[in-house]
Symmetry: C2
Subunit: 547 residues, 2 copies
């Protein structure tokens, strides 16, 4: 029975489905952690998280079991014992599991007991629930290994404490959301106070489709003190020293990285989400329509910061309604970012459609322009390989103020879950700050005028967003109430002070636009309820809380 | 304690979220069933099914509870007792429930015990599971009311039998799938044999986004005999007479409607799915590109049969690669269907892009044509209101043989879940048969040549699908193995006899096209695993079972 343990915490990225590559990366980190007794990896690190319906393919589970065996075998090489996440199949059921392996043998395992099945999570769909976990034993120390959701309820931790666990090592796959780090720490403190046990909260880092994992792993003592705080937004390995003292196990390693505040955390989430999506899907870079407006300017800035200016291509596609100001702003924007910039007028194509469909007017004619820009961008994307970056924001997506197969088109969207007021906040912030790890300019990323001028789609003379929509400072709190908080029209009126008739109208627009959102590209989740797997509304839907 | 019961079975359609309209329709059917003692409605008939995340909005649940009370009150009017599906909220949880009401009072209720959370179902996300159900009592008769999924496992039925249930009335919301009627009957027979109790299996009818409910309700005696078989694909009300005999309750009403065989059932599913989607979403009709090919010809036929020829508008959009044969076939196709037909060459727009992007070639140039057709169709759709009908099939969607924002664009797809070989089978069948309820021509719906000529996208000279893809008779069984049956490459090779290298290549195309499918419109589910809510794969995914 040892009185001292060196526990390595591996805050890692991953590749979903890449069993070999993930295993190799895990062994590489193990080699780096040579001085540790034990190394802890994030939830389902071997398969990548979330594996979604891959788990329903029997061959995926078989190969995961084989890869697990190979990892266990690898622990016969010198180095720390491995405590890692994988899928275990038994009696026809698949479990989200943690395996403790040393000297080529499995010493124990935990099966996840609480399966999250809300928000973006579908774990009851793909996994069976394990029993309440019991502690694993390593070098005579009883270690509790509840898995992610297991600690959001008290049964698993209490059971571990009752069965004599001396410390809790918790692997997670906890996606970023605004203020999530504070929510996690509050919850972990409640659990440490409840059990009287110290807890390691290890999270992964990196993007996977709509989700971004922020890392931000930490260690908390039973009194609620945060002893170790690892960085957010980057891979990290830390060796923590633990000692058995009179009152129980204590972490002697004190290290505190600063976590991002608002809105830097959102900006970092966007950078990481985009970078991992583009790289994993094999694109050499991105292309986007640079209109001189704030959405495309911010999207371009995130892209340049995430990928580098040489990987970003902005195309200005003027029509007869494009103002000189917009042309200038787009050009200046590209210059500030240092990215490739082309101007391709869509006027010849618009004229061809005037000839083909001479009677077109109103919104039908406006949409033709937005769609011809898409045809242009997708042609360039198809010819040269860059992924089209969509620039729409959550306010537009909510009310359908966007053209399907027009400006909505693209492979990925960084602003998808950001309301327009957040777009303003991020743009102002980035113009006077440079986030860590950013590859873009030290100075401002867009002309000041892009932030201050009134938003317009420029699809007809003198058009402004606010001709059709209320000011974003009024619209966004209404949308947040209806979408993110699932309030009724009346509840939103009480919370925001806005007029019931206005809110009812917004609700109608919101629910009517469901068909558009169903065909929108994926994008970075930053709020509690994104328009991806988070919010599953029917398209054919007659329910309204308002008139 | 009565010895005779008249039980009305209401095989109804619904509107998701339309609490008032659904309640009114239920009361209307109750008035028609005046001679019955009891009327049984489908699962969640008051809210519509599946309600999806509407259940997560507290105001939706509150209003559903209020509407439930009003329905209960309405049973103080003369007429049968009502046994109907609704949501019940208690102690912070929502239940999928059946309520038995008579004389203005609730006599009892069942809460759904088994919540389906696989395939397209997400019930563990939105509902809490009720306890094992106990029988309800009506006129001294003990009636078991397991709800849909409850009868796919034996615990609920066994518990009801053990607690003295005399017959089982089962409300369902069971979506159509190929051969589902036989699967249901086999399962119900097992349950009646197991419990020794007769069972009423009541299903709804109608389309809801991707799902189509086929009705096909039936009554089975404990010996497994099907006593009553209601029609598929239409609303129906039947009063069944039940008598208590020495061996238990028997259904004295014998009535057997014929159910559709293959492929008529698929055709009916497509008709109903499209009709309900178009009507519920307020479209005056549909518009589609009529290319002279089999996919658009079949889609147009389904649309004409579902909506009437005056609601369907076919547009032929020739380019310089369009053959005289295709022009003729499209024209003749429209003539046979009696629908509006326009020819709008896209040549001016293609020339404009030749001028704007002179270096474009290969797939990039081909895609421009497909996208300019979309711009044309969407302009007409936006101008006149018809919904764009997408014409792609499941074979194309699987391997990504379709242009995103081009031929993939549209509000709804009837062929989305039909492999190309099924498209051929349906076309041949419809050309010599007219389905019941169809509004289209009695005779053939497309020129014979449309079925016999080799498929082509006509995006370059002499192009044929089979230049890029294996023959559909080889491709489709491979896809069915990989997608619908979740087999590995090796398993598919064993099952189909196709070459491992070919299957590996198809698997790569399949997984790489995930990003396209994520932006595809909804369409009628007909198989076990559609590309909608049924199959939830990551886009960024490194797993391959083949090379």
């Amino acid at each position: 029975m040892t009185d001292r343990l060196i526990i390595a915490l591996a805050q890692m990225n991953q590749l979903v489905g890449a069993l070999e590559a993930n295993a190799e990366a895990m062994l590489e980190v193990r080699r780096k952690a040579a001085g540790a007794d034990l190394i802890l990896y994030p939830e389902l690190q071997l398969t990548g998280y979330p594996p979604e319906d891959l788990v329903l393919k029997p061959e995926f589970v078989r190969r995961t079991m084989e890869a697990t065996e190979r990892l266990v075998d690898a622990t016969s090489e010198p180095g720390p014992a491995m405590l890692f996440g994988t899928v275990i199949a038994e009696d026809g059921a698949s479990y989200n599991a943690m395996v403790l392996a040393n000297d080529g043998k499995i010493l124990g395992r935990t099966l996840k007991h609480e399966l999250p099945n809300y928000g973006t999570f579908d774990e009851k769909r793909i996994f069976a629930a394990g029993p309440l976990p019991s502690p694993l034993e390593y070098e005579g120390v009883k270690i509790g290994v509840p898995i992610c959701e297991d600690i959001w309820w008290d049964a698993a931790c209490n059971n571990l404490a009752n069965e004599g666990a001396e410390l809790l090592l918790v692997p997670n796959g906890s996606p970023y959301e605004l203020d999530k780090d504070q929510i996690r720490q509050k919850m972990v403190r409640a659990r440490t106070l409840g059990t009287g046990l110290p807890m390691v909260y290890l999270n992964r880092v990196g993007g996977q489709d709509e989700l971004v994992f922020d890392g931000s792993s930490f260690v908390v003592h039973p009194d609620g003190e945060v002893i170790v705080q690892m960085a957010d937004w980057e891979e990290a390995l830390i060796l923590t020293e633990w000692r058995r003292e009179a009152g129980g196990w204590c972490c002697a390693t004190k290290e505190r990285d600063e976590l991002d505040g608002y809105p830097e955390d959102i900006y970092h989430a966007m950078m990481l989400g985009l970078r991992d999506y583009v790289q994993r899907n094999g694109f050499p870079g991105v292309i986007l329509g640079l209109s001189g407006g704030i959405d495309s300017a911010l999207s371009a800035a995130v892209a340049v910061d995430a990928l580098g200016a040489d990987k970003v291509w902005g195309v200005m596609m003027p029509s007869k309604y494009t103002s000189e100001e917009s042309l200038e702003d787009a050009r200046e924007n590209a210059r500030m970012l240092g990215c490739r910039h082309d101007v391709i007028p869509i006027i010849p194509a618009v004229q061809a459609f005037d000839e083909m469909l001479p009677d077109l007017k109103g919104v039908a004619a406006e949409n033709v322009q937005a769609r011809l820009r898409m045809v242009t961008l997708m042609a360039l994307s198809n010819a040269e390989g860059q992924m089209l970056l969509t620039t729409g924001n959550k306010s537009e997506m909510s009310v359908g103020y966007a053209t399907l197969y027009g400006d909505m088109a693209g492979g990925y969207s960084v602003l998808k879950d950001a309301y327009k007021t957040t777009v303003f906040a991020l743009s102002k912030w980035r113009n006077s700050n440079k986030p860590s790890g950013a590859l873009g300019p030290d100075g401002p990323v867009m002309p000041e005028r892009v932030i201050t001028k009134p938003p317009t789609a420029e699809l007809r003379p003198g058009q402004k967003d606010q001709d059709t929509l209320p000011p974003y400072s009024v619209l966004d709190p209404i949308l947040e109430g209806l979408v993110d908080k699932e309030m009724s029209v009346k509840e939103v009126a009480l919370a925001t002070g806005s007029d019931v008739a206005l809110i009812s109208n917004i609700e109608r627009m919101l629910l009517r636009a469901e068909y558009k959102r169903r065909q929108a590209p994926p994008g970075v989740k930053i709020g509690a309820r994104n328009f991806g797997r988070d919010r599953r509304y029917p398209i054919s839907n007659f329910f309204r809380t308002g008139a």
